[in-house]
Each structure stands twice: as structure tokens, then as C-alpha cells.
């Protein structure tokens, strides 16, 4: 039974989805529910012997119709690999899938915000290793996108555009750029190797992007994941979240804005040590970081160069 309760002290909704306790937890590769259904093998979530990209309703949804949505996006029928190791053409196709799901879920009356994300690594709670992401359709506007709209209001325009302008002027934290997309460690990063990937032009959502932007967004995301893996020469755990314009009317006091960008929140602060959300982060809401964003950007630029070297 899913239930929303409003936490008055935090002014936030908490979703209770107790059925998720029973979800599949780190199965052996032979029993992966995201692999194709093999002849003689158990039926998986995708009853086909091969596929390119598949999207299906989560068997253990945090939100479901008529009060939201929870979908699984399977990037490939190969059990191994990552977003970074997909063929470029497949990563580009994934951007179109995200776009399609944003449009379709966002058109529903019960979906106020479409959150596309990927959790990678057991360090962030992954329960299935097969390359995949998820999409939640929230039946309300969650706090983070609401804060972003508040930032737009505070800065009297698009906050993401303003921050991108500052990063490009400074260049100290920029780690990657192409014709349409820029990636940088933000000035006030919370995580040691946090990276934001931002469209150069003001695009509220994937719907506003043209084909060339989607192609280069995919290329940038793949480069960042490869740089992460090269940073400590190990699969790099992260949470990756696509931030876009809400799909329902926003509160009247906030501007109907939003700027498509992708944020990576990696929990590693060294090759072996994790950043935990402890007293200050949980009790006060103030992150304490051990790493300066400028140093992280230098390390990531070097990792990016190593990742681009021929094997």
C-alpha cells in the first residue's frame, strides 16, 4: 500500500511504499529480471529474446496510477556494461526515450513532475546491476524542483543560465564541453565529485531540445561516466538525475521556469571512502565537504583525458 504523509516539520511529503521491501535484491546474473527471456530460462520482465531499449511499469512502484507513475528504463539487453559503455547510438536513443516518457507521463493529470534518474552501484542502493534507470512521476511538485524555481525567482531569471554563465566565465570548474552542452563541478558542490551537465541554450525540458542537442547531451553524459570510472580505476557509483520543468502548473508565486540539466551525485570522496549524510547534513541540512570543487574539477579533467586515451 502506497501512502503519502505530509511531514509538517520539514514541509515535505513522505511516500510509504512498504511493498518495496519485497523487491528483487541483487539476484545472480542468470536470474536477472531485466535480461531478455532466454529459451528454457525463467521469464523475465521483458519476454523477448532480444531488445534495444525497454520501458515498463515498476513491479514495486513507489508511485502508480492514478497517483503518479514509476517506470524502469532498461538501456540494453546486455547484462554487463553501463551508460558509459553503451554504443553512442544507443545512448543517443536513450535521450529520445527519456524525451518520450517525459512527454507522455507529463501529459497525465496525475503527474506533476517527471523525474528521470539512474542509481549506479550498491553504494547508492542499487538492487539490480543490469544497466538501467528509472522514472518517477510525482503527483505533487517535490522540494528540489520547487527550490530550483525559487532560485529562478531569487535571481530574477533562469538560475541555471546564470550559473552556467559564471562557470564559463571562470572556467576553473568546467571539465567538459561540446557545441551544445557544458559539464562542470558546481561552485558549491555538495558531493566531492558532483557534476552538473547543462544545455548551453535555455531549454526547459527535453521537449525543447533539437536532435543535435540530444546527441551531444548523450555524448557528454557518457564522457562523464567514463571519467568517473577512470578517476579511481573502478566502477564509480553515482546517482544521476535529470532536472526539467514541472509538468503541472507551478504555484502562482513561482515562475513557470526550469532548465534542463543533469546532476551527478557520487558518494565516493576517495577511492575507498564514502561520504555519509551525518549529523550536519541530516540534522541541519548543511553539507560538510572534504574536497574543494576546483581540485575535484582538476582531477576529473585528468580522468577524462585518461578515459579518452586509446585502450
Amino acid at each position: 500500500v502506497s501512502e503519502l504523509r505530509f511531514n509538517e516539520l520539514r514541509a515535505e511529503q513522505v511516500a510509504y511504499a512498504i511493498h518495496r521491501q519485497e523487491r528483487t535484491f541483487l539476484p545472480a546474473a542468470a536470474r536477472c529480471p531485466l535480461c531478455p527471456t532466454r529459451p528454457g530460462g525463467p521469464e523475465t520482465e521483458i519476454p523477448l529474446d532480444h531488445f534495444e531499449i525497454a520501458v515498463f511499469d515498476n513491479l514495486f512502484p513507489a508511485f502508480e496510477s492514478p497517483l503518479g507513475a514509476a517506470e524502469v528504463v532498461v538501456y540494453t539487453d546486455s547484462h554487463e556494461g553501463s551508460l558509459g559503455s553503451l554504443p553512442a547510438e544507443r545512448a543517443e536513443a536513450l535521450m529520445w526515450v527519456w524525451r518520450h516518457r517525459y512527454r507522455e507521463l507529463g501529459a497525465r493529470e496525475d503527474v506533476h513532475y517527471v523525474l528521470i534518474f539512474e542509481n549506479r552501484g550498491v553504494e547508492v542502493g542499487v538492487t539490480l546491476h543490469h544497466p538501467h534507470g528509472q522514472i518517477y512521476g510525482y503527483p505533487f511538485l517535490p522540494p528540489v524542483p520547487q527550490l530550483e524555481l525559487t532560485a529562478d525567482q531569487r535571481l530574477h531569471g533562469c538560475a541555471s543560465c546564470a550559473l552556467l554563465h559564471e562557470e564559463l566565465a571562470s572556467r576553473r570548474r568546467v571539465i567538459y564541453e561540446n557545441e551544445h552542452v557544458v559539464a562542470y563541478v558546481p561552485y558549491a558542490a555538495r558531493w566531492a565529485y558532483e557534476v552538473h551537465v547543462v544545455l548551453r541554450e535555455h531549454r526547459p525540458s527535453l521537449l525543447a531540445c533539437h536532435a543535435g542537442e540530444l546527441e551531444l547531451l548523450a555524448a557528454c553524459l557518457q564522457s562523464i561516466v567514463r571519467a568517473y570510472d577512470a578517476l579511481f580505476d573502478r566502477p564509480f557509483p553515482y546517482v544521476m538525475v535529470v532536472h526539467q520543468q514541472p509538468t503541472a502548473p507551478t504555484p502562482s508565486e513561482l515562475p513557470p521556469s526550469g532548465h534542463l540539466h543533469v546532476e551527478f551525485y557520487p558518494p565516493l570522496r576517495t577511492s575507498e571512502k564514502l561520504k555519509y549524510l551525518a549529523g550536519s547534513e541530516q540534522g541541519a541540512g548543511t553539507f560538510i565537504s572534504d574536497t574543494l570543487p576546483e581540485r575535484s574539477a582538476t582531477a576529473l579533467r585528468e580522468a577524462l583525458a585518461r578515459a579518452a586515451e586509446p585502450a
Binding site: 501512502e3 520482465e45 534495444e52 520501458v55 525543447a208 536532435a211
Partner: protein, 97 residues
């Protein structure tokens, strides 16, 4: 009790209504940029299945529904045995070969 509370939807609920998702009033939303061609016609004018789920959406069957597109991708919709939606995205040129 403070706050709102919602119960899990009961089986048999009809699919939620859809609204036409309009582009944001952002400045580039109306002018996506001259250097690249605009998205394909199906993006500018979503097919009837975008406006209205159609009878198959209301009464799901196991058969794939073909003919829907998104950029370079062909879309095939199916229903799993338990009624959950499954959508398959395939590159057009690959499907034709």
C-alpha cells in the same frame, strides 16, 4: 491530522486523464535554434495516440501496437501478463533491415 493522505489506487481504475503538454513559455522553447532541424513531425504534432490513449490503452491486449514513433525510434507497446505496460524502442533503420 495534519497534511494530506492518499490511499493506494484500487484495481480497476481507468487510466488517468491526459493533458496536452505544452512547451514552456521559455524564450528558446519557441525558437529551438536555427542551426539544427526541428524535431520530426511526430514531435510537433503528436499522433492521435498521444492525445487519446485509444481503445487498446483502455483494453490492453498482448499484441504489439505499431506505427508510433519518437525521433529515430519506432515504438511498440505491449501489456505484460499482469497488465503492466511494456514499451519497446527500436531504431527505425534497424527495424527495416
Amino acid at each position: 491530522m495534519a497534511g494530506n493522505r492518499t490511499d493506494r489506487p484500487q484495481p480497476g481504475h481507468s487510466p488517468p486523464a491526459r493533458r496536452q503538454l505544452e512547451p514552456a513559455p521559455g524564450r528558446e522553447e519557441q525558437d529551438p535554434g536555427p542551426e539544427e532541424p526541428a524535431p520530426g513531425p511526430e514531435e510537433q504534432d503528436p499522433g492521435p495516440e498521444e492525445q487519446d490513449p485509444g481503445p487498446e490503452e483502455q483494453d490492453p491486449g498482448p499484441e504489439e501496437q505499431r506505427g508510433e514513433h519518437c525521433g529515430p525510434l519506432a515504438i511498440a507497446r505491449r501489456r505484460k501478463g499482469d497488465g503492466r505496460a511494456l514499451i519497446l524502442y527500436t531504431r527505425e533503420e534497424r527495424r527495416r533491415t
